[in-house]
Assembly symmetry: C2
Homo-oligomer: 277 residues x 2
């Protein structure tokens, strides 16, 4: 059995020995931010995008990262060497720190964990089922640790035979708890919600393909979603997953659409180009 | 120096040794609930109300408390004996537990801490300043650990020279992050928001004084708040604190009002009656 290691602040610790004191503000008050990137063949994917977002989330939440990006990268390399897990997901969690009074911030704690990438069944590659739920994440532009609703909804999703949930608010769709959503209209426009979302890194990469695809941000109603020709979601672990059913409604022909397929291939090419330090 | 002890599940541990593994879902996803009661002269205040709410919060969040109330009470008594801190605040925190995948719930962890009661300056007893902020807590009827906005707002509150913040939503006032609010109208009606709030135990006790006061739940607009004759907030640690200023507006005569004073005295009497196991 290989030991898995993590970082707690600047120390490398075996995961089963790693702990955070009970006065930490993430534990006591749900106050923290994180980011998550993947490694392929021992190299990080879109690392600068993820770190840029990590520092920005921290700043928006008034949390100070003790380490500049160059130090943090060195720490990540050391952890990756130690774990020797070429294909992985790495999560950087920054908490509100040990609070003097259980309410006001302390010095943030950094916890970095590395684990295997979740695998998606081939049936998921053909298309997933999602349900919709009215909800708006607070401070949506920040990758904060508030997944209260998402965790709470997991049994509901399973009961309804679905794979994920899509939030909407004021009749506009926004995002899944851990993925962005895209729709393809009848005239082959590829659209993704513009506002009140966490801007994913995979989403960002796809939006840069505007030379080859008619792809852009827009406000999208629930009706427009349900009448879309193709729908897919994007995330670091999922890349692109087609959506074949939304609530009780089949999307398009109920199979992966042509544009979804082309974008999936384009994304694989970008990932290959942009992997590495 | 006396060591302070806490409970981590059913073990009594010195606080500076107490820790939670990094895979706990409160730390990773902000998923947990809590309750908080005080002890006076070594006896708990409104203990059954607090435990009833603790188990109800757990149930609404689909968290299972491993211990029935009788066992939990015995554990609390043991902790209180060990700490020998007659006047204190005791916090029961129940987390989503160690998650198998960083997202779905595990077996909940219970962490119980005991600490000194915060003291309020005499100037606070004469009246505090609050600011208003548009926000609606998610799952408001559950005492969940989501204080993302509350913690984030602390520097704003200080910058504006205020002591606390009052949330409002759809033009109706709701609650402070850690206190309920009451207004006294021109014709001596005492009103407190009915909906979209965490129903405090102190609030509950006051609402039972309807024989002696014209006190009830109601929808209260921001305008009605600012035109109130008296305003006060309630909580376990604060009992009743008069509010003398809201944003830039002085409340009533800017001093503690007569009904606020009478209710404060009535509350002290109830606390004296209802302290003990």
């Amino acid at each position: 059995v290989n030991t898995n290691y993590c970082l707690v602040n600047d120390e490398i610790v075996a995961v089963d020995q790693a702990a955070i004191g009970i006065n930490d503000l993430a534990l006591q008050r749900g106050f923290g931010i994180f980011d998550y990137f993947k490694t392929l063949s021992g190299q990080p994917v879109f690392i600068d995008d993820h770190l840029e977002r990590f520092y920005r989330s921290a700043k928006e939440m008034r949390l100070i990262v003790k380490y500049p990006p160059s130090d943090l990268k060195a720490m990540l390399k050391e952890l990756m060497n130690k774990n020797d897990m070429p294909n992985s997901g790495i999560k950087l969690l920054l908490t509100g720190g040990y609070s003097p009074d259980g309410f006001n911030m302390g010095v943030p704690n950094l916890v970095v964990t590395q684990s295997g990438l979740p695998s998606y069944k081939s049936e998921h590659r053909e298309g997933i089922n999602i349900i919709t739920h009215q909800y708006q994440r607070q401070m949506p532009s920040v990758k904060n640790i508030d997944y209260l609703m998402a965790v709470w909804l997991q049994p509901v999703i399973k009961e309804r035979g679905a794979d994920d949930v899509l939030y909407f608010s004021d009749n506009l769709i926004t995002e899944c708890p851990r993925a962005n959503i895209f729709v393809v209209t009848g005239n082959n426009r590829v659209l993704t919600p513009a506002n009140n979302i966490l801007k994913g890194i995979t989403r960002k990469q796809l939006l840069q393909l505007a030379d080859s695809f008619d792809i852009s941000e827009a406000d999208i109603t629930v009706d427009e979603l349900k009448n879309a020709k193709e729908v897919f979601i994007t995330s670091t672990t999922k890349n692109i997953l087609p959506v074949k059913q939304i609530d009780d409604r089949v999307v398009g022909d109920g199979v992966r659409g042509g544009i979804t397929g082309k974008l999936s291939q384009a994304l694989v090419n970008i990932i290959n180009e942009k992997t590495g330090w």
